[in-house]
């Protein structure tokens, strides 16, 4: 991809501009996190989805919405590092 001038856009720039953009080197954790954030955003935007979940969990719509928003911050927990350090890259990159 390139600018009209011909200079290539760096993929970091692209990622900064279009959130949720993926690339070949993306870790599985990052991908999954992005997916979950998109999903929650869609649920929050569609009122009927929100009320469907609210009925199912018997919480108020306001509470359901707030929980979804909070979950967007860290939808898939913390990234897995530590003991599996050596195998981690291999694991998350497939």
């Amino acid at each position: 991809m390139s600018n009209p001038g011909g200079a290539p856009i760096h993929k970091d720039q692209l990622k900064a501009k279009y959130i949720g953009t993926g690339d070949a080197d993306m870790s599985k954790f990052e991908w999954v996190t992005n997916m979950h954030r998109d999903t929650f955003a869609s649920h929050i935007g569609h009122y009927d989805h929100l009320s469907y979940y609210a009925v199912a969990t018997n919480e108020s719509v306001g509470r359901t919405k707030k929980e979804f928003l909070e979950k967007m911050l860290r939808p898939c927990g913390r990234p897995n590092v530590g003991e599996k350090e050596e195998g981690y890259d291999k694991l998350i990159n497939g």
């Binding site: 935007g45 009927d48 609210a54």
Partner: protein
Amino acid sequence: MTSITSAASLKLLDLRLKHSSSIISSHIGEFSRPDTQQIICLRSGGTIDLYEINVEENDNEDEEEEEERTTLKLVSRLETRSVLRSLGVVRVSGGKRDCVVVGSDSGCLSVVDFEGGVGKVLHCPVFGKVGCRRDTPGQYIATDPRGRAAMVASIEKRKLVYVLNRDSSGNVTIASPLEAHRPRTIVFDLAGVDNGYDNPIFASLEVQYLEVEEMVEQEKRRKEEGSTEDDDVDVGQYGDGFTKQLAYYELDLGLNHVSRRWATTVHRTACCLAAVPGGADGPSGVLVGGEDYIEYLHEGMAAPTVDGINGSKPKRLICAVPRRELHPSSKGLLITHMAVLRQKKGKFFALAQSELGDVYKITLQLSKDDKTVVTGMTVCLLDTLPVGNGLNISKLALLFVPAEFGDHGLYQFDAIDIEDSAVKCTSQETISAFLASCQSNDVEDAELEFYSSPQNAASVAPTFKPTVLKNLHKVFSLDSLAPVTSVLVGELAGNEVSPQLYALCGRGPRSSLRVLRHGLSVTELAVSQLPGVPGAVFNVRDDKIAKNGVFYDRYIVVSFADATLVLSVGETVEEMGKESGFLTTEPTLACSALGGGGEQGGGIVQVYPGGVRHIQRGSVSQWHVPGIKKIECASANESQILIALVGGELIYFEFDPMSGNLTEAATRDVGADVSSLDVGMVTKGKSRSLFAAVGCRDSTVRLLSLAPGSLLEQKSSTALGNTRPHSVALSTDIGGDGGGEITLTVGLDDGSALRAGVDAVTGAISTSPSRRFLGARPVAVSRVVLEGSPSTLLLSSRPWIGREGKGRHAMAPLSYAPLDHGCSFSNEAVREGIVATSGKTLRIMSVGGSGGNDVILGAEDDEAFNSNRVGLRYTPRQMCLLSAKISESSRRIVLAVVESDTNDVGEEAKKALGFDATGKSKGSSKKKEKDGDGMDMDEDSDDENANVEEKKEDGDENEDDEENDAARKTPIRGPVPSKQGCWGSCVRLVDPTDGCSTLDCVEMDRNEAALCCASVRFHSRGGESLLAVGTVTGMTMNPLRYGSSHVVLYRIVNGERLQLLHRTKVEDGPVLSLVHFQGRLLVGIGQTVRLYEMGKRQLLKKCELRGIPTMVKTLQAAGDRAFVGDMMQSMQFIRYDATSNRLVLVAKDNNPRPITCQELLDINTVAVGDKFGNVSILRLPRGADVGAIDVTGTRALWDSSREDATPKLETLCTYHVGEVVTGMTRASLVAGGAESLIYVTVTGRVGAFVPFTSRDDVEFYSSLEGFLRQDVLRPTGRDPQEYRSYYAPIKHVIDGDLCDAYNLLPYDEKQKIAERLDRTVGEVVKKLEETKNQLL
């Protein structure tokens, strides 16, 4: 439905029967004209509704007190065909009205002006991509209180500010957007800070998260340090590693850019904002609501003046919220909405609602010296209302709460200065409690920590017991079905003409079973017996005009075969004798009061077979028919009388107001026997009707002129084919220009009615009359008045009302017994009534009178449904019909409903806790203050509270108090259990023939939840209908855990009682669906489908199929096939192989659809609804299941493991409804009509998919839809076709809503489209109408 599915391709038309009733967001303002109070509502499903608050004062002379009647009236409705998300209201400087700013999924911000009640899109600037994506702005909208700018924000990162202004000619202008983006920031709420006339400031409640690389780095550091302290903190609680901030974004009007001006850390659970008045009106700043606390924040605000014990100074002005007595102290109490009302002279207060529905009043204490310094805050309990999606306070002392589930309510304030008497908490107390526990020097952190624990809040806040409304009372409620969980159609009441629609609605304490009937509800006011069967009924209006400019009726004249009965209308209806002057020994053919009213009344004319009688101030003049001829039929109005003699001779009389006499003006022979006549009505300001309609026995209807120059000249005629006219009526709709549109309605002998427009000048009958079948009897037509506009009453085997409204003709049956004759009726008590006869009774009634809650026909473009409701205990989940044996020979149909609520406790446990669902503890009712002026009640307070099962405790209370109670009852949510996985549940048996009264209700205990039910007839038990209920114990949904699951079998004893037969524990998962399958019971258990046979002690497992992808959600069976809907992976068709006793997978769907409901159309075809609001129709390819089972069985065994070998279902139709479809049923809504697919959605919409039966219709609708996609107004800039193809391209379904929008187009555009369709406008409108009429 075989006829439709056997066609090569299935084509459906989506028709809306009832609009979705959930309100996403609402606002009070002055939209259509200044100095009104109107409510703008965003409805789920893409409609913007504008309601006006009408306060009518009924001054009844009899009663001393003036009664007020507050109603909401729909002013305007705008279909956007997009997903609406947010609403802002802005009064652009220099304007007197408010504009609406709407955020949707279209990637545009639309500014809509409702001048004169017509929605007009002023601007629709595009800013981003389509969809509810996390970085597409539109999720939040905040407007500057001074109307200078609007901020629109996405959930993540993007914020845009639009500067609004007016150009030299006063039009609203919008500048290009200014960006205020902040990466990785999740926005929780947005508000426009009132900053006087300084630069506009927007407050945003937001959290920034880390990038993934940083998260990994942070995680590594944490591992190295070995810190695990905040590992077990849930996200959203204090200590989870995120900080929530309140940030001020300032729009610099001079430099034209936006900057993040100021930010401060707030309470971690904060979730909503409300701006406090500023400038000259108040201290400015925002209120932040979160769990347990409400905080006041503003840039540069002074610290609270409470001194700490050890010298530490608190920084936050925060106040705890009073809690319910039974609310567990380990659970937070979330404030979900707040609203601020500015009163006069810089006074203001705020209201906040908690997630349980309690509404609190917040007041700020200002420093005496400086009105911009806030020194304290008080939060006191106002009342408990249904949980809403907002609070709209009107200047008329009204509060509108759009309920998230159930009916929306409009409440009147009785008292607002309640600080002294109510349960309250102050910031002083809260901060002192913090300081008392504070040890650390780092006050900021200590504060956040202190305020993050619900236990601390519980120790500070006072408790209360929710009771009836004390400071508010309900004045109006707006019907809402949401959420509908299931639907069923059938004529179960046992004595009605057309089927009813049974819907399970509501949640928790507001749950109900509603019986919807197509038609308008009727309030019966009086029934009296008559000496015989009448042949006609007439009304005669009074000479004197009443105070409000309406004529009331003086007499009701009932005609019998050989007599006439005259009843006088006054306080009571009494029989009159000779003094009325009527000839009572002959039947009456027509009668009317003459003259325009006033002093010199024209008297009354009575037409009887032998002549015409003019009764005038005691003197009577008669005109006798010459010879032996008799009058066959007649018609009269205030000035004209037309009679027809046997043989077809017409004689016309006219009333001369100068002399006060009747004069014979013209005669004419029409050459055929006349069966019916109508001289039309005299419109205001005219002296006569210009046309008369004559129905002849030669199957024609002729239109004669009554204009002085051309008396009785035939203007036009219409042939009716082989039926004869039974009755005719000419009605004039008074148009805005005073011209009036004349409509001819003909009731035919074959039970149908014909309606045609008449040209007001030439008298030509339009060439495309519309005809509709109404019932099995000849149709009698008469004119009545409904809501001040002329309508027609059509009586066949069912009574109907027809009315013009909003560019279309609407027609609906009355939910009432068949009537024989009828006419309008009006007196002081009943302004717009109907008097009618049915058999030997005379009835007086009014249409749609019950509290104005019904959709009055034509007022909204919904079909008219009236609903009866029966309260339920918990959220209803499923229902099924059972045919129960009463005796050897008789059976009875009963309805079983399973109800369950998670996060709730059972009935017994509630009692043990001391919870009183009625909210009427003795102590509270005594506290009720009886202050005079505040308590005057609305007469039409309807008892919407569905949960009311209790009997009135105090029998001696008089009627006023009972009405009062009804308006003060409020549904109260039961105590919330402190841990997850608590359930309250019951199984209920309802008798549909007896107004859905409960026969038996079995409460499930042991934390068991009944989730599904089915009627099953085990062949081994002789075919008795048993009720099978699937239950789960202690289930939590996220993560999915449960104790055990059971299938419980009940017998119905005597058709009225449930008797437990046995319980069978099932392994492998929760039971979500059951179905009767070939004399056995098929059960969906987690990923398994299992077949059970009846046993003595429990069910016996026969065979099973494992490996359904996720979880079985829906099950249906037909023949040897079962249709399994998976929670995530769409449909699987399975087949039972009886020879080897196996269940075999026959076919599955390619697309992953999270199924919510399904309905079989035929053995190969199934309609499914999914969680994203799509409806698809799937079909098994021809011959696909032949290969699935071969005689040896080996092939299927080896092939079934191969993914690609399983046949795939074809998708016949796809359509995006726009709301989660929760129930579907295949049924016809009229007895003997064609079947259609009726669906309901979680937000309360009822719709139908109607199969097309002819290729012409398909072509017509396809091309009409095509044109409308181009021409229809797009208020949010969303393409209608794109919207209907939200998740998958629309396929073989035509959007009936869009086609209906044809009626709303301007005439020249209508004309253009009609031309391209090779039809006239009238024909297109008629076609649209006919399609709808076929359904209902």
